[in-house]
């Protein structure tokens, strides 16, 4: 069983403890209270992920329109805000087609296998000291290992479609995902080395000392760039959307898909984008930390940090900061998508293996050296 490691020296809102204490006060046994608590954060995060996708689709439409000097969706709701709902409904009502010569079982299983690891990875995204589903000890490593399941789903759907473009797209997607996973993991390793922990909560806690100055981006600028490039490649966003390059491969592994199965791919890729942005903000931009530490602010205002109202406010600020940083990065990703051309497959693999991998290794070595030389600044 994965047990949440209890951080004893923590302040901040602990919803779980309050919820279970309330239920215990009503005469419910602790076991039953825990059982009642368990599904709540999961449902909440699932809803948050889907709403995040809707916002993302709307942003993508509006920003792409602005880049191309169009207006974009404007009739569905104010500023076209209901357009993503319309898109989603359209996909739900579309006919679900399985090609005759395709392998029905694998064809159905493929999109599911692509989506599930992405959603599972939300397990470790922290929105506050206690505001995450589970503070798993292996935290960020769980995300890396889960994201390595995705290529199997892509290969499966590419193969099962029984279509040469799909198969090529699936193989490309898997090759890309594997190539960029290595520099990504090395960049994460440098962060882990500095914070002496794999847990996402500890990684953020280590960046909260002096507000914006203690964020990891100042200590790991190269790692930040490597991570961001690799995350874009893992999400198959535009400079790296080789697997579904329309001009070459029709739509890659998605070619034969329609209706809800296509929607699963769509959902998976957008959830993955939001997730990657969230993790960049957790690893490099101080997660839920406000640019000025909230403890200082509370001190200047003469408020005790553990007063209930102050706790609620700091928790809200934390959530807003996490989401804000993540969506700033999503904005950058969308802008990149609509302004940069696609790289060729050989350029993609060259960039991954001959440039990012050596740089990531050097970054790791330099971080290790700095950690030994300046243990105070680099988490000795």
């Amino acid at each position: 069983m994965v047990t949440p490691s209890m951080v004893t020296t923590s302040t901040g809102l602990d919803l779980q403890a309050s919820f279970e204490a309330t239920l215990a006060g009503l005469g419910v046994s602790p076991g039953a209270a825990h059982l009642l608590w368990l599904p709540l954060p999961m449902v909440l995060v699932l809803v948050a992920a889907v709403v995040g996708v809707l916002v993302n689709v709307w942003l993508e439409r509006k920003i792409s329109a602005a880049v191309q000097q169009r207006i974009g969706p404007e009739y569905a709701g104010a500023l076209g805000i209901l357009q993503p709902m319309a898109d989603g409904l359209k996909l739900v009502f579309k006919e679900d087609i399985i090609p005759v010569r395709a392998d029905g079982l694998l064809f159905t299983l493929g999109p599911v296998l692509v989506l599930i690891p992405v959603i599972l990875s939300w397990l470790v995204v922290p929105f506050g000291q206690h505001l995450l589903i589970s503070n798993v000890g292996i935290g960020i490593f769980l995300w890396i290992s889960l994201s390595s399941i995705q290529p199997i789903g892509l290969l499966m759907s590419g193969y099962a479609s029984n279509n040469k473009y799909s198969l090529l797209g699936g193989l490309r997607a898997a090759a890309q995902s594997i190539s960029y996973e290595i520099p990504l993991a090395l960049a994460v390793l440098a962060i882990v080395m500095m914070s002496n922990s794999l847990s996402t909560v500890d990684i953020v806690a280590q960046q909260t000392g002096a507000g914006i100055l203690s964020w990891n981006i100042w200590r790991q600028p190269v790692g930040f760039l490597i991570f961001w490039i690799c995350a874009l490649a893992e999400c198959e966003r535009l400079p790296f959307d080789l697997p579904e390059a329309e001009e070459e491969l029709v739509a890659g592994y998605q070619t034969e898909y329609s209706g809800m199965k296509f929607a699963l791919f769509y959902l998976g890729s957008y959830i993955n984008l939001v997730l990657s942005a969230l993790l960049v903000s957790v690893l490099y931009l101080g997660g839920w930390g406000f640019p000025i530490p909230v403890e200082w602010l509370a001190g200047w205002l003469g408020q005790p940090i553990d007063a209930p109202l102050v706790q609620v406010i700091t928790a809200s600020v934390g959530i807003v900061m996490t989401v804000l940083k993540a969506y700033l990065l999503v904005f950058v990703a969308i802008l990149l998508r609509w302004t940069t051309p696609r790289v060729r497959i050989d350029q993609l693999l060259d960039l991954g293996w001959k440039f990012l991998l050596p740089i990531a290794l050097v970054n790791l070595l330099v971080t290790a050296g700095l950690k030994l030389a300046f243990p105070l600044a680099f988490g000795g």
Binding site: M1, L106, F141, S145, S148, I149, I152, L155
Partner: protein
């Protein structure tokens, strides 16, 4: 029984069933692609068993290495060389199957006997949960340093071998047999397919 132990039991039964059925499928299914995908399922359920044993780092490493790397590699190999051809029937197939089945059954019985007769220390050592990551690191860099480094040398050799095999065109003769390499094919690979053809 508490809720936690019931959940654990259910998880254990489900994971073991997937593991055994999946492994049987890997061996028995005629379609090699299905076998490869089922192998991923087997690896995943092994990772699940590790999770049940409170070894989350080992579970994640299992997923990363076996599902993410080994299995994807197997799938790549299958899909890149997946030629649809009807293989000729091997003579005496039934006899071969009976023989290999007998060998596997014998091995299984032997392992069952070992598992039953060994005096296992019950309950086993208490799990250290998340501290395991640090413990594994300490062991890898102290008493298991030599095997660890040897494994990396092995991987390096495999990598160099792969590069040599992939870059055949550098050599004019075959590396292994010493026979002259088929230059025609190499030259063909270098010239673009569509230029120089008479236009229709």
């Amino acid at each position: 029984m508490t809720i936690a132990s019931t959940t654990q039991l259910i998880c254990f039964v489900a994971l073991s069933a997937t593991l055994v059925l999946g492994a049987l499928g890997v061996v028995l299914l005629p379609n090699i692609v299905y076998s490869a995908f089922l192998l991923a399922g087997v690896f995943l359920s092994v990772a699940g068993l590790y999770l049940l044993l409170n070894a989350s780092f080992v579970a994640a490493a299992q997923v990363l290495v076996y599902v993410g790397a080994v299995n994807v590699l197997i799938l790549f190999a299958i899909m890149l060389v997946n030629k649809k051809e009807d293989l000729a029937d091997i003579p005496g197939l039934a006899l071969r199957r009976v023989l290999s089945g007998a060998v596997c059954g014998g091995l299984f019985l032997l392992l069952v006997r070992v598992a039953i007769t060994t005096p296992w220390a019950l309950p086993g050592p208490a799990s250290i949960g998340d501290g395991a990551t640090i413990r594994i690191g300490e062991h890898l860099f102290s008493d298991y340093l030599l095997p660890f480094e040897l494994a990396s040398v092995l991987l390096l050799m495999a990598m160099i071998g792969a590069i040599v095999l992939a870059r055949r065109d550098v050599y004019s003769s075959d590396v292994i047999t010493g026979e002259p390499a088929d230059q025609g094919l190499i030259e063909k690979a270098r010239t673009p397919l569509l230029t120089g053809k008479p236009s229709p």
